[in-house]
Symmetry: C2
Subunit: 85 residues, 2 copies
Amino acid sequence: MILVYDTAVERNPKVLKTCRKYLHWTQRSVFQGELSTAQFRALMAALKTTIDPDYDSIVTYAARSPDMIESSTLGVDLGGPGDIL
Amino acid sequence: MILVYDTAVERNPKVLKTCRKYLHWTQRSVFQGELSTAQFRALMAALKTTIDPDYDSIVTYAARSPDMIESSTLGVDLGGPGDIL
C-alpha cells in the first residue's frame, strides 16, 4: 500500500515516526509497504490519535497485489523499499 | 494513476497547474486520474521542464485497472475525482 500524509509541521515528526514503524519511506510525504489487515488497522488507529482531523490529511491506496502497481519517479528518488530507514 | 509531488514552494504553482490539466486533485500534494500512455508521457514531459530534478520529486503509481486500487482518507478529504477543481 501507499500512504501519503499532509499534516501540520508540528505534527510531522510524530506522524513520520508512526508510519516508519509499519512502512518504508519513499518520498518526503510518501510511505510504501505491505501490511496485513491487522497492521493496517493498528497504523490507522495510531495515526488517528496523532493527527488533527480538521487540518491534517492522510490518504492510503491499497492494491490487491503489489505487482499490480508500477511506480516511477521524476527528480529526486529517496529510495525504494530496499533501503534501510 | 496517482501522482504525488514534492517540489520547492516557488515551483508549486506551476506544478499544480500542469498536473491539473491531466488529473484531479485529491490531497494537498496528491493527484489522481486515468491517463492514456500518450497523456502520461505529455504530463511527464511538461513536469520535467518545470521541476528541479536535484531538489524536487514526483512519484507516480499506476495500476493496470483503477478497480484494483482502494483508497481511504483519514482527516481532511479534499474531494475525489467527482469534484470540480
